[in-house]
Amino acid sequence: MRLQFPCIYIVAERIMDWYNGRLHHIQYKWHEGFVAWLFHRITGLLLIFYLFIHEWAITTLQTPESFTKAIAVLENPVFKVLEIGLWLVASYHAVNGLRVVLTNFAGAAERSNYKGNVWIFWVIFAIVFVAGAIPMIMKL
Amino acid sequence: MADIDVRIEEFDVVIVGAGGAGLAAAIETGGSKLKTAVVSEVYPTRSHTVSAQGGINAALANMDEDYWIWHMYDTVKGGDYIGDQDAMEFFTKNAPKTIIELEHWGMPFSRIENGKAYQRAFGGQTRNFGESLAHRAVACSDRSGHAMLHTLFERTLHQDIAPYVSYYSEYYALELLMDKEERRPIGIVAWDMVNGGIHIFFSYAVIFATGGNTRNFRTNTNAHVNTGIGWTMCLKAGIAIKDPEFIQFHPTGIYGVGNLITEGVRGEGGYLLNAKGERFMKTYAPHVLDLASRDVVSRGMAMEVLEGRGVGPKKDHCLLKLDHLGHDFIMDKLPGIWELAYKFVGVDCTKDPIPVQPTAHYHMGGIPTNVDAEVVDWDGEKEVPIPGLYAAGECACASVHGGNRLGCNSLLDLVVTGKQAGRNCARWIIEEKPVFPNPPEEFIADKYAKGIIDRIKGYYEGGEGTVSMDAIWEDLRDTMQENVSVFRIEEKIAAQVKKLDEYEKQFKEVGLTDKGLTFNTELAEIFDLESLLYVSRVETEAALARKESRGAHSRDDYPERDDENWMKHTFTKIDENGKVEIEYVPVRTKPLTAPTFQPKKRVY
């Protein structure tokens, strides 16, 4: 019997597999590109689910009263912080998305620069994020 | 221990070995719509042809004027006149055609400005019968073997051929089945490495292409799988091995590990230095210097070391200088060399010279064949082909390389003889319609493969052995290197014969520790070692018998070539008791159409 990695479904078994080193592909070294992609995937999903909630909220807030009430809730600092989180997620996904597009179309993945490019992206992302976050923090 | 399955399959042709030679043969038989099985110990692209670096000789005349007859002359002279000239003519004449065919199949040759294939200078290749250096080796940067093997393999995947060729990768060939009365092969026995179990292939014809076997030397350029099983299968079946004493030592193996630095480095202008920083090849080959044929250069290096001009703390190697070629040139034409030197000895060869030493590399000898790549017996008067048995590539000996192979002639040999074997085999089956050897199942298990199955069962059921296989192997490598290497002398070779008796006795005590059937590499290594013992045996005995110096066989006690007494091939056989029988067979000096090249003193 050969071990087939991708075909193990049950969670408990997965934990055992991890323990036994059977699922060792998860233990692959987290290279730059992998981390960037993982976050891209997570942020993408967060964004689309945020969009679902956001749109649903706006739709239900059709009267001036409910709207004002909601705005009042949103004035709560907790939501302000969450909003910065949203900006974090969105700016990450946007900047990294651009990097992906450049990799596909503009040869941003030469052997000489593929790792460097990911680091450059982190710098750009940091700048974009901070630039956007400053006005938000100021309003806290 | 569980039972060992025996499975049986029938094919038109079985090819043992999927290196360049085996694949070239498969292209021919598959192309003729014959059901072909290619049995190989490793996946085809893992065969050792992949390591070849330098290039392939052919008188294409892309760089300068060139004719096949010049190439033939070089080959005859390089082989120290013991090569069979009919085979050599066929070989060099067909070279350009073969290369062009390879190109058509997609081989990515390096190119020159006008779009033709690039050719580089290589050792022993001259123009106009030795006048000046020839640029004859078509190359694919320094990955020619890789490019060639992949191209041939890709060709067998082509939709025209693929349906007829079945690959049996990771099947270890063990035994050649011969019909003793008719003296023809009926198939082979192989061990299925992945699942365990015996696999018997029955076929009209068997083609051997199992490649080299210098794993019995301490420093060698060969892959771990090059253990000469083809020779051993033939020896066990009572077929002779021709000229096993001619073992080529490549001048430039990386010091300490043996990995090869291609002669192409010297072809492109690199040269050898001794400890004093002298270009010592001036003394040994005043005309072509470092591009003399390999035996000459290796002997030169060995002489320097013997006379105390070796490099390093042990004064046991030389240096190969190529930094003067320039960084860009090296990176363009020799990138693989840079990588090897950098990885294995930490030398950046664009700045520093590479430490090198002569390294066991290639067997000129092999399973005796004629021009048609048919395996032959010697009946005392003439060579008689064995119907349905063919051999090609390094394991065969036609002999196109004589006593010493020239660089880049081997890759050519693979394709030319490989295709020749495939084509003749196909012609024989299609035109002469032999009867299929078809013994019933129980008959087979009992009669044909019984010995080997019992032996394997013995390993599984037996103990773990009292002698470690690796101790024997390590010792074998040391003693072979010591006693049967570049310079040979009677006492040492005789001592090696005794050693071999000892190893054989010890080998009987070797047992199997891994009793699993799945991917049992230990079992394979036991057979590897057995095979190397056979190979060493014939090599040593033949070297002991040949009392002259010729080509790669260089005896201190008989330093001269002796055309009167020794212008003949050695045919060695091993009988049931393990004794070596030697016969001598005349050289086929008459080419097909060209005039015979008469032996001359060999100077470079």
Binding site: R41, G44, L45, L47, I48, L51, F52, E55, W56, I58, T59, Q62, P64, F67, T68, I71, E83, W87, A90, A94, G97, L98, V100, V101, N104, F105, G132, P135, M136, K139 | L157, A162, P163, V165, S166
Partner: protein
Amino acid sequence: MMYMRGFIDRYQGSAKSGEWNWLLQRVSGVALLVLLLGHFFVEHFVGHTGLTYQAVAARFASLGWKIFDLTFVVFALYHGINGIFMVIEDYVHSGWRVFWKGFFWVVGIVYLVLAAITVLPFKG
């Protein structure tokens, strides 16, 4: 190599090659870069304190903003749901794949309608 036939067919000549999805993912992504920044800027930076129903309603009332917002929603929904499809195709190989893809098709359409009925009726 005969046994390969079926295997090869799996890859050859499939009408649904996914190249459109891939390309549009990138195109919509780049478009979103502009739209999202615009949207975020307007909603969260400009006149945040004045975020009242009236202000929002007034903005929604103008045709330009209607188009802007609808384009944004369409692109974001396409891009986001297509992204979800990509994730599904990566990880779900059983019959559930059809279910989840269908589910998100429905979700997508529902949200498109929702967006339309939210944005379009504003008259200021």
